[in-house]
Structure formats: structure tokens, C-alpha cells
Amino acid sequence: MSKKVAFLQGNEAAAYGALYAGCTFFAGYPITPSTEVSEVLSAELPKIGGKFIQMEDEIGAMAALLGGALAGKKALTSTSGPGLSLKQELIGYGCIAEIPCVVYNVMRGGPSTGMPTGPSQSDVMCAKWGTHGDHATIALMPASVQETYEMIVRAFNLAEKYRMPVHVLPDEIVAHMRERVVFPEPGELEVINRTAPSVPPAEYKPYDTKFGDVPPLAAFGSGYKFHVTGLNKLPDGFPTTKAEYVQAEEERQIRKVTANIDEIVEFEEFMLDDAEICVVAYGSTSRSARYAVNAAREQGIKVGMFRIKTFWPFPDKQIKALAGKVKGFIVPEMNLGMCSLEVERCAQGKAQILGINRVDGEPINPEQIIEKIKEVK
């Protein structure tokens, strides 16, 4: 019972989670509703000799983040909607150059300036498709303050393990609400560090597939010298336009995620065993859904919830299996139907899909979900 507890906002918990994961570098730009992350880390990072920099703009923050990560640091940035749009250029750079980092994006209303203090879940597609070109995406969806802490740690683990940018996408409600956080002890949560090269500098290639789909990444200034570019590249990091290399490289980068989908995808099944109706929810909306499922069960309705914890890669397999079991899916989300599209894709017409969509800056309340549950035929 000696564990440290605190009453924190989601954003604050994200900052402490990053420190637990070994983050020593933060680059960001002020934007509502994510600034508490930078405020906490500007105070905490220097205490451990880490670096915090507020850059001139969102793009610069993403660039500095990638620079810090290439210099060997575990690196975090935080942003929101318009900032995520701006960062997309260099999120793509992180994907192609395979630089581990974590992008914590608090979802607020949009497009553009939208509703800076209103909650939203409308960045889920932006996280996946916002940067141009084919690439794999990992995006995690915390639903509580404690989970925000833990998911940041997991995001760093996935970023370092698969050598890629990883998104954490809390909605504004999760980011700003306060709850009790029980801080894990050192060693309690897994912390994965970057795999250092096993070959001497003279033999090192930054994209050497001899070591598998995720080649070890050396740090600048660690005795290794190598080239990094945003162009399609050869195993030694130098640009190429040779068709066979480009195709293989792009496929490998996506395979890093697709081949490990069962390990990456996490979800929660709530009262689904005998369910005839499944609410598919994520983030704060899953809390309304849980309330609604409990209430509907009391009325004798066989309903459960599938809670998405990893939005990307999408839990295709699980939704496909559910589609064969349930009559209908309810998909409540604070956007005009983004997750619904994915559920539709997976359900392949086997189950009815009803969306509950709100973009008015108000959360989806349990009552709305209960009503929709009753509509399933």
C-alpha cells in the first residue's frame, strides 16, 4: 500500500507516463487542449537532465523531436487537431526513415480551429491517413487517466520496438478530467529500449534487413556514422529509385505492423459472451457505453461492449468474429462516423450498424446509447 498515488488530469498523467518510459526529450508547441503535457515536462525533464524545447511551430516541434530521437533519445511531442495536421509532413518522415517517437494528440473539435476546448474523436482517420503515402500506423486510445499513463509507456515500447512514430489519441475529456492515478513501481510495467546495433560501425547499415523487418537503429554521436533521408532508400540509407528496392522497403515497413498485429492490438470485451448487440466504443465514449450497457442489462437487454484500445491497426479479426454473432453494432463516437466505416468494413454486411455521432462539443451521454440499443432490430 506504499504506492504513490495522485489525483491528475489525463494530460499530466501522460507526462508522468512518458518519464516512466524513459523519455528524456520533448519538443512541442503550445496548443489547447494539450499544453499541460508540456507544462509538466518543462518542469520535470530538466530535473533528470532531460531536454525540453518549445519550438517555433508545430512542424518545427516534430522536426526537433525526430532530431532528438535520432540522437538516441526517447522522444515525445504533444499536440491537438491543427497541430496534428501540421505535423503530418514529418510524421511521414518518421515513418519512412523509421524513427521511433510518440505523438500524443488530444482530439478536439475540427476541422481547422474548430472547437479548441470541446471534446472530439475526429482525428482517428487523420492519424492513419493524414500523411501522404503508404505507411503503417499504430494509435492507442486511452479511456481513463490511469490508462493514459500506461498507454504512453506502451506507446514508447511499440515505437522503440517497431522503429516508428506511435500515436496516442485521448479525446479532450480524457485529457482534461482528473482521476486517481496509482503510479506503478519501477519494473512493474514493461519498458522496452531501442535495440542497438550488434555490428561494428564499419559494417553498420541503418536499414539492414539481415536483422529482420526492424533493423537496429544506431544513435548519432554514438560512434556510428550513417545517412538518413526521407527519400526511398537502400539498406545503407542512401536514396534509390530502383523499383525492386522501393517496393520491398515499403512492404517491409507496413509488415512491421501487420505481421505483429495480434501483439499490437489490445481491446476489452465487456459483457459480450451472450450479447446480441455490441457497442463498439473507444476513449471517453466507452465510459458512456459501459454505463449504458449496465443500464440496458438491468432492463434485460443482451448487450455488451467491445472497447477499442488500439484503433490502428484496427481490430479487424475481433470485429469480424463479432459480426457473425451479434445482430447489430452500435458505434457511438464524437465524429460523423469514422469508426463506423471500419466496423462496416469488418462486418461485411453481416450485422446492422447504427452510429451515434456528435460533433457539437458535448459528450455522447449514456441515455443516447441506451435509446439506440433499443432501436436494434
Binding site: T32, T117, M177, R178, E179, R180
Partner: protein, 181 residues
Amino acid sequence: MARYELRFSGAGGQGLITAGIILAEAASIHEGKQAVQSQSYGPEARGGASKSEVIIDDVPVDYPKATKVDALLALTQEACDKYSADLKDGGILLYDTDLVTRLPEGNFKKIGFNIINTAKNEVGREIVANIVALGAMIALTGVVSRENGEKAVLSRVPEAFLELNKKAYAAGFEKALAASK
């Protein structure tokens, strides 16, 4: 105890967010219950009507916002007008008698005293009006014990202001009990 919803409302700058946080801390850190606190943000939080909500339960709180408010604090007329519509039947409305003169219709207890003036004239500093209000809300709702509420207040304030806040908390607690008789 079942899910219990409290809303602290008033004008931006009255310290209502802090009052909500302290209550939630009292419940979740000191009393061992589950609590979630949330608040209004942005231009709304910098003047005009502002609110802070706390949901307390024995089991983990699912929906983090208010559905039907069990207890509402209103420190301004504007806040009272804006935020009292979803006050539960049998709920509690605590209001400042100097600032809230038109009370909403409804089947709930309406308890008022001069909260801000108590802070200003009896405790000595208007800035602790939020703590007076917090003491009163705890007295009226019993969602946390008097002692745990005080512990949470004192763990939040600097050394130099301990006595002031203690006094504010006690004044609110006593006055609310007196007003509810």
C-alpha cells in the same frame, strides 16, 4: 454509496475548479472512493459562468460527466440559471443568498447563506470563498467525512494559509448545517 454527482458553479476566478478538485481528492485519495473531476474550459472558464463537476462512487466511475445532478452549488445568478436544469428531484441546491435571488423551480432542497461575505467578513479573505463553499457542500451532502474534506483542503494550500483555510472550511461547514435546519 451509489453514484453521486456534484456541480460547483459560479463565475470564472471564484476558485470553483479548485473546490471541485479538492472534493474529488478527498473522496479518491483520503476516503478511498472513486472520483472523477471535470470542468468547463476556454473563454467560458475565464469569466462568465463556469462549472466544475465531481462524480463520486464506490465502484469505478464510468460516465465522467453529470447525468442528473445530486448537489449543485451556485455562486452567481447566471450560473444558477444556466446549470440548475438537470438538478435531481430530492437533490440539493446550495446558493449564495446575496448573489442568487431568483431560485429555480423544482423539487429539491434549497439552502442558502452569504457564502462570499462569510469568507470576506468572517474568515477575513474573499479568496477563500471557494473553501467556505466546499465546507458547506460537504456538510450538506456527506459525500466525504468532515475530517477527510479538511485533510484534502490542507494538503493543497501553502503553509502560510493553513489556518485561514481551516477557518474557511469550518465556517462553511457550520453555516450550511445551521442554514439547513
